[in-house]
Amino acid sequence: MDPTLILFGIQAVIRLGKIGKDASEQYVRDAEALFPDIRKPEFNRRGYVNGFFGNANYEHFVRGVDAPFKEFWGSNGVKNDLNSIDTLFAAAVQIKSEEGVDMNKWLADSQVIAGATLIQQWDPIKPAPMSPFARVVLAAGDIALEYLAINPGLLGVDGNGQKLIGAFAKNLGDLLPDDGNFGNNHKFGERLLGIFLRAGLETINSNPRWVVSEEHVQKLISASVQPIVKALPVNITEQIKYREVTDALIGPAASAAMQTLANHPDAFFGDDFRAETAIGALTQALLGQAANTGLNSQFTKDGLLDLYKAALGVAAEKPHLFLKDNGDPQDHLAKDLIANLASALMQSPPPFNGSVGVQLAAAALEAVSANAHRFARRDKPWEQTASDLVGTVTEQLSKAFKDNKGIENAFSKAHLIELGRIMFNHIGSTPEMIVGPEDALAQLVGTVAQAMAKDDKLLLDSGDWLEIAKVAAQEAAANPARLFKLDPNNQSQTLAAQVIQAILKSAGDILSQKDLKGKTVLFGKTLREAIIIVLGATSRNPGAAEKNLLSIELLIAGLNELVAKNSDKFGDKEWLHLFQVLLTSVLEGRGLDKLTVESANKLLKEKVI
């Protein structure tokens, strides 16, 4: 169908709308109308049997000499005993079944709570006052009129609204057949285009500075709508499901896509249309995934939409990640991306199966896409890497929360997401950690998570753990094979985990000594710094740390006791300085003398000099 004609029609409707709204009123008047069902009486078996056999058509089964069921029938209908009622009910069902009527099904259906039918105004095969062409043009005109009321300048010559309608008309022209015989697919597509037009007008309203590029909007709409129309299943049941998810998701998805267009002007400029293609593939992937999982699962509509929005940014900024060399979408990539992330999150326990999980996924996508060049030509596709990252982080943190409820409560949602972001950003820059032979990411996250699980006295808060995670991630990225390698003697733990746990244990032990409990400095910021010092030192010399683990534990215990017993002389700064100095000695294999006030003062004085 000629797009110029459509555009002309829409403009005519808008002009007409300024004078009078007759045509658009008819369009509104002819919209589907709700026709509710009637209420059915509660089913009563005795009442049903009396109604059935009291009918002249079936009375001969219960009345008369030869009536086969006469013994169950009395002067006032069925005898009032369960046996008679049940027997005659079964007989009634049997009789109707022989007539080809499934009475059981009808009765069951009739007990379903009333539904409603949506009814169109006009019989499609009788002459109606509005042609299909007029209807599609009015549909667009009606949407535009709605926005014109809010923003009268919307449709000025070469204005943003005008360009948007031009893009809409071109898509409609491509979609509709010239003969005016619109099938189901055309109507479905027409409706989707209307939704995109509405989303576009909304975006213009909320982003007045957006300079609309008609060509890019046109491409975005066609890349999004055409695959959805093509994917409309033939099977009725599947089609109903697909339409349901489309109805639920396409509005917000179209808004998000248009918003992305407005927010990334550089990505949608000139002759490069790759971003539109990538977004189209993502939109189709979103609907496909929703049709597969349905919208009633724990991971509902909002979760999928948030994932979609997170992926839109990547599509706008790095569309090549989604495309083949010839510019076509990579087979299954967008679908796999959404499906894998959704699957990872759906399998995660709370709180990772909701908004926290989605934001972690967004952080993972950001990190992987920002470092996509590092993952190039690896065996594992980048979209799989992103979902694996999410799966690993949520799995390890869930384990820690299971073992230590207190630490879960200590973490706000924002801190949880920040924790994930720290891990992803450092790991993203070191792909060996993820795609290498050992799962270094699991070991890193596992290390921090296991340590968190051991902090049952809550000596550190979530802010402290974030700092520790940063250092751990930096060390891991710098030297993945050292600190975060599984201990051959203890396959469930890394060396770093053992070291951190040793510190936590020593820090916790002093709390059981009544007289020193109130005087210890090894908690909060001091403890955090102590762990960071150990991580740095151990990373530089992992062999020594492994060999002297017990000595490190004893050093901390000794320092704790000294500082607590002499709290008037030593505080947190002294503790940390002594620890740094003495840790070096321990790792160098030098024996430690007994710590006294004098020896400590001597070491502190050396610092001053």
């Binding site: 007759d22 009123e25 008819q26 509104v28 008047r29 919209a31 109308a33 709700l34 026709f35 509710p36 069902d37 009637i38 209420r39 059915k40 009486p41 509660e42 009563n44 005795r46 009442g47 049903y48 049997v49 009396n50 109604g51 059935f52 009291g54 009918n55 002249a56 058509n57 009375e59 009345r63 002067s75 006032n76 209908g77 109707k96 007539e99 080809g100 009527v101 009475m103 009808w106 009739s110 709570i113 009333a114 539904g115 409603a116 039918t117 009814i119 169109q120 105004q121 006009w122 019989d123 499609p124 009788k126 002459p127 109606a128 006052p129």
Partner: protein
């Protein structure tokens, strides 16, 4: 959760009431009707009766506001008909007796000319009072059934006969309105919907009421014999009109059997 839902429904009602202060446009009215109907269905399905009451109040407010628009003579008659269609549907779903008045006011605007311009809306306006009446009769059936099952106040013969006659009148009325709707340009979904509902009344409501006559007055009573005869006549008429067992499964496969003494 229940409290939260109740608050939401109250807010919904308030929104509808507040909207009443400004002009309700047709698109908005249609949308609100659909939303409130969905809220009512959810309340019924989850057996949240207090929410149903709140939604009913909102539906009633919507009905009044749409009817006020329908009464605006400055508007075109076809638009007024659409407003009355919304008013009548909302009043029906609210269980509000004003459904009859709103449907009548709307249908009075359905001249041959306007009927041809809004065939679905006129068709709906003609049948809505009957369907709303059936909903009310359903409550009476359920009440009579409960009392017939035991208790101190069993239904009287006069009461159940009246119930049967009222239900039959609704079927007669729906069948009479069927012809003009079928001939109009209204979408066939409308006549299918009306037939489906008529079939349900014939096969669910009417036999239940006839069964109650049998139970209360006895198989040999004049009341029961008259009900059998009336039922037979209805079945013959419906078969002639093209009703099948698919729409009305209680119809016999062949010709209905005429009861003895039925003229």
């Amino acid at each position: 959760m229940r409290i939260l839902k109740a608050i939401l429904f109250v807010l919904l009602g308030v929104i509808v009431l507040l909207n009443g202060c400004i002009t309700l446009d047709l698109r908005q009215a249609n949308r609100e009707l659909a939303e409130l109907y969905r809220a009512k269905s959810e309340a019924i399905n989850s057996k949240q009766w207090e929410q149903e009451v709140t939604v009913n109040a909102a539906l009633s407010a919507l009905a009044d506001e749409a009817a006020a628009q329908g009464a605006d003579r400055s508007m075109s008659e076809v638009n007024r008909i659409s407003y009355y269609r919304i008013a009548a549907t909302a009043a029906w779903q609210a269980g509000d007796a004003k459904v009859v008045a709103y449907a009548a006011e709307g249908f009075s605007l359905c001249t041959p000319e306007t009927f041809s311009k809004a065939p679905r809306d006129c068709g709906m306006l003609s049948v809505i009072p009957d369907l709303a009446s059936v909903d009310e009769l359903t409550k009476r059936i359920e009440d009579a059934q409960r009392r017939a099952g035991g208790g101190t106040t069993p239904p009287t013969e006069q009461e159940v006969v009246q119930l049967f006659d009222d239900i039959k009148s609704r079927i007669d009325s729906l069948l009479a309105k069927r012809g003009p709707i079928k001939k109009s340009s209204a979408h066939p979904q409308l006549i299918e919907g009306i037939d489906k509902r008529t079939g349900t009344i014939l096969c669910s409501h009417l036999p239940t009421a006839r069964g109650l006559i049998l139970q209360v007055a006895g198989g040999e009573s004049a009341a029961h014999k008259k009900a059998q005869c009336d039922d037979y006549k209805l079945q013959v008429e419906m078969k002639k009109s093209g009703f099948t067992q698919q729409i009305a499964p209680c119809l016999p496969a062949g010709d209905p059997i005429k009861p003895q003494g039925c003229q």
